[in-house]
Symmetry: C2
Subunit: 363 residues, 2 copies
C-alpha cells in the first residue's frame, strides 16, 4: 500500500468516515502519479477505510493511469455511460453501501455532489481538503528532483529573456521568445509569463504590451515552467543599460530583503519571521509602503500552495517545505523590482533552487 | 436594464426564485462585459427578482468592472474581509433576507455554497446553469464581431505554421513559432496548440513532440485564439511535399464531409442531420470506422459550448448559433486528417468564419 493512500486510510479509521473521494487532478496525480486533465469527464480516486482504493477515469485513459504507476484497480467509463453509476456499481461490489463520505469541498461542485449522492442518499458528507493540503506541504525527495528541474528550466527561460533584450523591442516580443523557447523543448509555462519594462513594472495593474525597451529601463521577468507536473516560479529584474541611482537603491533594498529572509530560514523558524526580516530591510531603506504583498507562497504541483509566507503565519518551517521568497517594491515614479527564488527547507537552512544571478545584471 | 439581466429576472419572476448568484467568470463576462479571472477570490453577480443587480469582486478590480461597462452597483472586498459577509450585508440592505436562491451548480463548489448558506440557512437552492447555457447559444452581432476577429487570428496562426514548415523541423519547433507569433500580437491561444506530422496525426493519443517533418507528410494543425474574450478553433491539414494517393483519398473524404455539412446547414435543420451528412461522405469513401468523434461543438466565450453537433441531437439550427464543423479520419497506417471551420448560422445558410483554404495545400 502506498504510504500516501495509507495516510488517508488512517485518517478515515481515526474519524470513522467510510470513504474519501479525491477529484482534483492535482491530488489524483499526487496519490497516483497519473497526471491528467479530464475536462468535464469524471476522474477520481475512492479511498476506503479498510479496502484497497479504486480509480475511475475515462476509458481511453485506463492504460495511461496504470502506466503512470497506479498499482490498484482502475475502472473506465465512456461517454455513453453514467460515470457516477459505473463508480457506484463498483463501490457496491467492493464495500456495499457508504454511510459517511469525505470529499474535496473546495473542488467538488454542487452538481457533482448531487450526482454522487443519488447513490448514497443518507450519507453524511465531510471535507478532506485540509488533510491533502497538509500532506502536500512537505515534499519527498522524488518531488524535489522534479522541482529542481522545473527551477532549472525557469533559470533558462530568464536567460532567454535577457538574451532577447534590445533597444526598441516590445515586452510582447521578448515574452513570446521566452515562451517559444520553452515550448520548443516540450514544456509548458506554469502561468502566463510577465515581461514588464520601465515604470510598467511599478504598476500593480501592469500587463505585458507593446511598450518598447529603452536604455536605462529595469525589466522585470516573472515566469515559471512545469516539469513532470511540478512548477517553478521565478522573478528577476535586470537593467537594460546603466540604471540611475534611485533605481539601484530600490534594487538593493529588494535584494537585501530577499537575502535576509534566506539567511534566517531553517527548521523551527516561524514563517512570519521571514516576512518580517524581508520587510524590515525594505522599510529601513525607506520603501516600506511600496512592498504591498506577502513575501511568498508554497510551491509544488500547484503554483500556489501552502505555506503562505505572510506576517500573520506562525507556522514553523519544517524540512522539505518548498516555497517562494519574493519581496518587491513598486514605486510608481522610480521602479518596480521583485526578486523571487524557489527554496527548499533543509536540515539546517535552505537549498535555493533558482540559480540565476541576483546581483543586478546590466545588459 | 440590460436585456440579459432582464431575461434572468423574468426567469426568477416566473419561477418565484428570489435571487440568482452567477459565479463563472465566463457568465460574469457575458452579463457584464467584465472579463476577469479572480483565482480563489470571490467574483459574482447577484440578480434579484425585482431589484437592480449587484456585482461583488476584489476591491482593486472595482474600477475595471465599471470601466468594462457594468452600469449597476459593484462592491469590492479585500483579503482581510470575509467576502461572503460583505456580500450578505449588502444583500440584506437591498432586499432583506433570501428564502430561495439559484446558483450555478456545475460551477459553485460545495465549500462555497456552505459559505454562502451561512447567511441563508433556510433557503432553498436550485440551479440556473441551463438558463445561462441556453441564453449563450445564439450570439448577438456584438459577439459575432469578436468571433470573426478570433477566426482571423486563427487563420493567421495557420499561415504562420505553414510558413514554418521545413524538412527536419520538429512539431514543437513549428508549434512554438505559431504561439510566439500570436503572443507577439498580444493575444493568447484558446487551448494548447497541436502540430502533428505524419502518422502522429493518425493517433488518438498524438501529442506534439520531437518528431521531424519529412517529405510526403501530412501535417495537422489544431489551434485557436482568444479575441476580447471570444474563442476561435480551427484545424487544417496540409501536405509537406507531394502526398501519396492513399493520403489524398483520406483528405478528399474529409473535405467532402466538411463541405456536405456546410452545404446542408440553415435555420430549422436538425443538428444531427449535419453529423449524418458528413459521416455519410466518409463512410461512402470507406473510412467510416476511422471517424471516431462528433462533428463539432458550439463556440463562443467558451471553446466548447452548446450545441453539441452529434448524431443524436435533434435541436434545429437557429440563426446566430456558432459552432465548429470538424470531420476527421484517423487511419493509423495511412494518415490523420481533420478539417475544422467555425461557422455562424445565417438567415438562409452559414457564414464561414475561418477562411484559410481547404483545398489540399502542398508546401
Amino acid at each position: 500500500m502506498s504510504s500516501k493512500v495509507e495516510q488517508i486510510q488512517k485518517y478515515l479509521q481515526k474519524t470513522g468516515v467510510e470513504a474519501a473521494f479525491i477529484t482534483t487532478p492535482e491530488n489524483v496525480f499526487y496519490l497516483s502519479g497519473f497526471l491528467s486533465d479530464p475536462h468535464e469527464r469524471l476522474l477520481g480516486i475512492m479511498i476506503f477505510k479498510d479496502t484497497a482504493p479504486l480509480m475511475i477515469c475515462p476509458k481511453m485513459e485506463v492504460p495511461d493511469a496504470k502506466a503512470a504507476g497506479w498499482s490498484y484497480e482502475v475502472i473506465g467509463h465512456d461517454d455513453k455511460e453514467d460515470a457516477w453509476e459505473v463508480l457506484a456499481t463498483k463501490v457496491a461490489s467492493l464495500v456495499g453501501g457508504i454511510q459517511s463520505l469525505a470529499i474535496e469541498k473546495s473542488h467538488l461542485t454542487v452538481e457533482r455532489l448531487e450526482l454522487l449522492q443519488r447513490f448514497y442518499p443518507n450519507s453524511t458528507v465531510s471535507g478532506i481538503d485540509q488533510l491533502l493540503t497538509d500532506m502536500r506541504i512537505v515534499k519527498s525527495e522524488d518531488e524535489l528532483v522534479k522541482l529542481r528541474e522545473a527551477a532549472k528550466l525557469a533559470d533558462y527561460a530568464i536567460q532567454v529573456g535577457c538574451d532577447e533584450l534590445a533597444e526598441g523591442k516590445t515586452e510582447l516580443e521578448v515574452l513570446s521568445a521566452i515562451e517559444a523557447a520553452i515550448l520548443k523543448k516540450g514544456y509548458y509555462m506554469s502561468f502566463d509569463t510577465m515581461v514588464l519594462t520601465g515604470l510598467n513594472a511599478a504598476s500593480p495593474h501592469g500587463t505585458p504590451g507593446n511598450t518598447k525597451i529603452k536604455k536605462g529601463d529595469l525589466v522585470l521577468f516573472d515566469l515559471g515552467v512545469v516539469y513532470e507536473g511540478y512548477c517553478s516560479d521565478i522573478t528577476r529584474t535586470v537593467a537594460f543599460g546603466e540604471p540611475g541611482e534611485d533605481q539601484k537603491a530600490v534594487y538593493n533594498a529588494v535584494l537585501n530583503a530577499n537575502l535576509a529572509a534566506i539567511e534566517l530560514a531553517k527548521p523551527g523558524v516561524p514563517v512570519m519571521d521571514l516576512d518580517k526580516a524581508a520587510r524590515d530591510q525594505i522599510s529601513n531603506a525607506g520603501f516600506g509602503e511600496y512592498f504591498t504583498h506577502r513575501l511568498g507562497h508554497g510551491l509544488g504541483i500547484g503554483v500556489h500552495e501552502i505555506p503562505s509566507i505572510h506576517g500573520g503565519n506562525e507556522l514553523p518551517l519544517v524540512e522539505g517545505m518548498v516555497f517562494t521568497i519574493e519581496p518587491g517594491v513598486y514605486k510608481g515614479d522610480t521602479a518596480g523590482v521583485r526578486i523571487e527564488d524557489d527554496v527548499v527547507v533543509t536540515k539546517d537552512g535552505l537549498e535555493i533552487l533558482t540559480k540565476f544571478p541576483k546581483e543586478l545584471q546590466i545588459f
